[in-house]
C-alpha cells in the first residue's frame, strides 16, 4: 500500500521577517501545527473531486519574488483579454498586491475618518495584536472535520504581508475598495495574500477582490480573507477570479457576523488547472443575514470547486445562497453547500439553490447539498439541478433568425444573467461580462 503523501516541509518555511512580533509568532505557531499535514486524496471527503488536480511540487514552495519591474507594471495579466483594467477601477480606492505583498506605490486609497487601511508590515503593536487575533480565530483555521483537509491553513503559516482594514463604528464608505491580487507566474512558486476586515458596528463597506495573474509557470495562490462584522454592520464582498490556466488557487473566505448584521458575497470564477474556494459564514448574532451568489464557468480541462458552509449559530437569522455552474468541453465544476443549523438557532430561515448547466457530454458537474439541522423550528429549503441546453428553446430562437451560436450564447447567458446583474459594482459586471462572452465564444467554437 502506498503511504499517504505529506505536505513537503519546504512549504512551511517562510522567508520574510518584516512583520510585527505578534504576527511572526502567530505564523510560526501555525507552521508548527501544520508539520506532517497529510495531503488530500480522492478519499478525502472535502477534496474528493479536486485532489487529482492538486500538484504541489517542491519548486512551488518558495515565495514568488517581486521584481521592481513587476511592481512598476500596471498589473493587467489576466486571463481575460480586456480593455478594462485596473484603471477602470476607481483610481482613488485601489490597493495592489503582487504575490501577496502590498505595493504602496501602485496603490492609492483615501484617508477617511473612521477608515484605516494598513499593510501588515506597517502595523503598530496594538493593531498587530488585533490582526493576529483575527487570524487566530480565522474560520479556515478551525479544526477540520474528521477526514477533511484544509490546505488554506497554509496561508497562516506563510503570509508575507497582508492588509488590515478597520472601520470604526458608524463609518459608511460609499465607494468600493478594489484589491487587485496579482500573481506573477514567471517562475514556479507560491503566494499567500491575506486580507482582514474588521467592520465596526453599523458600518458599511464593500470590498472587491480581483485575482489576476501573468505568466504560465506552475504556481499556487493560497488566499485568506477574513471578515469580522459587528452589530448592524453591512458588508459586501465581490470576488472575481480570472487567473491564468497554470495557477492552482486555494482560497478561503471566513465571515463572522454579529447581531443584525448583513453580509453579501458575489463571486464570478473562471476555471483553471485547480480553483478551490471555501466560503464559510457564521451567523453568530441574532437577526444576522447573509446572501451568497456565485457563478462559475469552466472549459477545456479546467476545474473549479466551490465549498460553502453557512452556520446558523444564533436564532432568527436568514441565509440565502444561489450558485450556478456552467461546464463545457471536458471540464469539471463542483459545488458543495453545507448548511449547519445549531441547536439554539430557532426560527432560522435558510435557502440554498444550485443549478448547473452541462454544455457537452464530456463535461462533469458534481453538486452536493449538506444539511445539518439541530433546531426544531426552522425553515430550510434546498434544490440542485443539472441540465443541458433545451433543444426546443434553441430551435425557437434559431427559427427567428438567430444563428445557432448566438442562440446558445443567449440561452447560456440567461442561465446566469440574474446573478451577474445583482453584482452591485458596474466595473465588475463589465469585466465579468467580457470574460463570459469570451468564454462562450470559446466554448461554442466547434459546436
Amino acid at each position: 500500500m502506498k503511504s499517504a503523501s505529506i505536505l513537503s516541509s519546504a512549504f512551511l518555511r517562510s522567508a520574510g521577517q518584516a512583520l510585527p512580533t505578534a504576527l511572526l509568532t502567530l505564523r510560526f505557531d501555525k507552521a508548527s501545527a501544520l508539520a506532517d499535514l497529510v495531503l488530500p486524496t480522492r478519499k478525502t471527503e472535502n477534496w474528493k473531486y479536486s485532489a487529482r488536480h492538486l500538484k504541489l511540487t517542491d519548486d512551488m514552495a518558495s515565495a514568488l519574488p517581486i521584481s521592481s519591474a513587476d511592481a512598476a507594471n500596471n498589473p493587467v495579466g489576466s486571463l481575460i483579454d480586456s480593455p478594462v483594467n485596473t484603471a477602470a477601477y476607481n483610481a482613488g480606492y485601489t490597493v495592489v498586491l503582487i504575490n501577496g505583498v502590498v505595493q504602496p506605490q501602485a496603490s492609492s486609497y483615501p484617508v477617511l475618518e473612521g477608515l484605516s487601511i494598513q499593510c501588515f508590515s506597517d502595523l503598530n503593536e496594538d493593531d498587530a495584536v488585533l490582526a493576529a487575533e483575527l487570524l487566530s480565530k480565522s474560520i479556515s483555521d478551525q479544526p477540520a472535520k474528521s477526514g477533511s483537509v484544509n490546505l488554506s491553513q497554509l496561508n497562516g503559516a506563510r503570509f508575507e504581508d497582508g492588509l488590515l482594514i478597520q472601520l470604526k463604528p458608524g463609518t459608511v464608505i460609499d465607494q468600493p475598495l478594489f484589491v487587485i491580487h496579482h500573481t506573477t507566474a514567471s517562475h514556479s512558486g507560491s503566494a499567500y495574500p491575506c486580507i482582514l476586515v474588521a467592520a465596526g458596528s453599523n458600518s458599511q463597506f464593500t470590498l472587491v477582490e480581483d485575482y489576476v495573474s501573468s505568466g504560465d509557470c506552475s504556481v499556487m495562490v493560497n488566499t485568506a480573507t477574513e471578515f469580522s462584522i459587528a452589530d448592524g454592520a453591512n458588508v459586501t464582498s465581490v470576488r472575481l477570479n480570472t487567473e491564468g490556466q497554470s495557477v492552482q488557487h486555494m482560497g478561503t473566505t471566513g465571515v463572522r457576523q454579529q447581531r443584525s448584521s448583513r453580509f453579501e458575497s458575489h463571486s464570478v470564477g473562471f476555471g483553471g488547472t485547480l480553483r478551490r474556494h471555501d466560503l464559510h459564514v457564521r451567523l453568530e448574532g441574532e437577526g444576522a443575514e447573509c446572501k451568497l451568489n456565485g457563478v462559475v464557468v469552466t472549459r477545456g480541462s479546467q476545474h473549479y470547486d466551490n465549498h460553502t458552509t453557512i452556520e446558523h449559530v444564533a436564532a432568527n437569522c436568514n441565509s440565502e445562497e444561489t450558485y450556478r455552474n456552467i461546464a463545457a468541453d471536458k471540464s469539471h465544476a463542483v459545488f458543495n453547500g453545507r448548511i449547519h443549523i445549531h441547536q439554539d438557532a430557532q426560527k432560522s430561515n435558510a435557502n440554498m439553490s444550485n443549478k448547473n448547466l452541462l454544455l457537452t457530454s464530456g463535461a462533469e458537474i458534481d453538486t452536493k447539498p449538506e444539511l445539518e439541522i439541530y433546531a426544531d423550528d426552522v425553515l430550510c429549503a434546498h434544490g440542485a439541478t443539472i441540465g443541458q441546453l433545451d433543444k426546443q428553446s434553441i430551435f425557437y430562437l434559431v427559427s427567428r433568425g438567430l444563428s445557432p451560436h448566438d442562440a446558445k450564447v443567449l440561452l447560456t447567458m440567461a442561465f446566469i444573467n440574474e446573478l451577474v446583474d445583482q453584482i452591485p459594482i458596474e466595473q465588475v459586471r463589465t469585466i465579468a461580462n467580457i470574460g463570459l462572452n469570451q468564454f462562450f465564444d470559446q466554448a461554442f467554437q466547434e459546436v
Binding site: 433545451d390 433543444k391 426546443q392 428553446s393 430551435f395 425557437y396 430562437l397 434559431v398 427559427s399 427567428r400 433568425g401 438567430l402 444563428s403 445557432p404 448566438d406 443567449l410 440561452l411 447567458m413 440567461a414 442561465f415 446566469i416 444573467n417 440574474e418
Partner: protein
C-alpha cells in the same frame, strides 16, 4: 411563392408525412385542417427547419429556391416564420432583447444596419399595442409566466416585427377565449399583404370566421385528401371528417 412537391417526412423513424403537394401563391391564405395526428404540426416544423424531423422524399421551394437546403436560421432570414403552437419560455432573456436580436439578425442578412435600442423600443411598443399586449411584457423574460393567450399574441407580435414572406401559424387559435381570438385574428389580418403568404393550421372553423382563407385543405395520414374554398371549412364544421372517410375519433375530443 411556396411549392411543396411529394413531401415525405419522419420523426424518430416514424413516417408522418406521406406525399404532400401544395402550391401557395403570393398574397394567399391557406387553412390546413385535419384531425390530431394527421401531420399538420409536422408540416409546419419541417417547413421551419426543425432538425428533429427528417425529410425522406420530395422537395420544397420558396420563390424558386430549394428551402430544404437552407439551415433553420437561413430560412427565417429568407422570410419563413413559424408561430409556435407551444411557444417556449426562456427565463433570463428579456422579450425585448430577444426581439431586437432577431430583428437585427434579419436586418444584417438584408444588408441593413442594426436598429438601435431607442428606435427598436419605439417600434416594439407600437407593435405590442397592435396585439393588445402591455409594453411591460417587453421587459419580462421571453414568454415567462405568460398566459396561453399572451404567448399567442407574442407570436403574432413577432410576425408583425419580422414581416415574413411566409407565415405559418400553428394552432394560433388554440387555448384562446373569444376576445383573445379576435385580437389574434386582427393581428393576422394585419399581416395579410399581396407579397405575403400565410398558412393557418387549425382544428376549428371559429378562427376562419375572423380570417377568411382563400383555400382550405384537409390533411389526413400525412396527405392532403380534400381541398376547396372557405365553404369546405363550414362543411367540416357541420359534418365532421367522417364523410371524407377519415377516422375522426381524435378530433372529437
Amino acid at each position: 411563392m411556396l411549392n411543396i412537391k411529394n413531401l415525405h417526412a419522419s420523426v424518430e423513424d416514424k413516417q408522418i408525412l406521406n406525399g404532400i403537394n401544395l402550391e401557395i401563391k403570393a398574397g394567399e391564405v391557406h387553412a390546413i385542417m385535419g384531425p390530431n395526428g394527421s401531420g399538420k404540426s409536422t408540416l409546419s416544423q419541417v417547413l421551419a427547419g426543425n432538425e428533429a424531423f427528417e425529410v425522406t422524399e420530395g422537395e420544397v421551394t420558396l420563390n424558386g429556391d430549394n428551402l430544404l437546403d437552407l439551415a433553420t436560421e437561413e430560412r427565417a432570414r429568407e422570410g419563413v416564420f413559424l408561430a409556435f403552437q407551444y411557444p417556449v419560455e426562456i427565463p433570463g432573456v428579456s422579450n425585448l432583447q430577444f426581439l431586437r436580436t432577431a430583428v437585427n439578425a434579419m436586418r444584417k442578412h438584408h444588408g441593413k444596419d442594426d436598429m438601435n435600442a431607442a428606435e427598436f423600443m419605439k417600434l416594439a411598443k407600437e407593435v405590442s399595442k397592435q396585439v393588445d399586449l402591455d409594453p411591460a411584457f417587453l421587459k419580462r423574460g421571453v414568454n415567462e409566466g405568460f398566459s396561453g393567450g399572451e404567448k399567442k399574441r407574442n407570436e403574432i407580435m413577432q410576425a408583425l416585427l419580422l414581416q415574413p414572406k411566409l407565415a405559418i401559424l400553428d394552432e394560433t387559435d388554440s387555448g384562446l377565449d373569444i376576445d383573445a381570438l379576435k385580437v389574434v385574428a386582427d393581428g393576422v389580418n394585419a399581416l395579410r399583404a399581396p407579397d405575403r403568404s400565410i398558412i393557418m393550421i387549425t382544428h376549428y372553423q371559429r378562427l376562419l370566421d375572423h380570417i377568411v382563407p382563400d383555400y382550405v385543405h384537409v390533411l389526413s395520414e400525412g396527405k392532403i385528401v380534400k381541398s376547396g374554398g372557405p365553404e369546405l371549412a363550414l362543411e367540416l364544421e357541420a359534418r365532421g371528417y367522417g364523410w371524407l372517410g377519415i377516422n375522426d375519433a381524435a378530433a372529437n375530443h
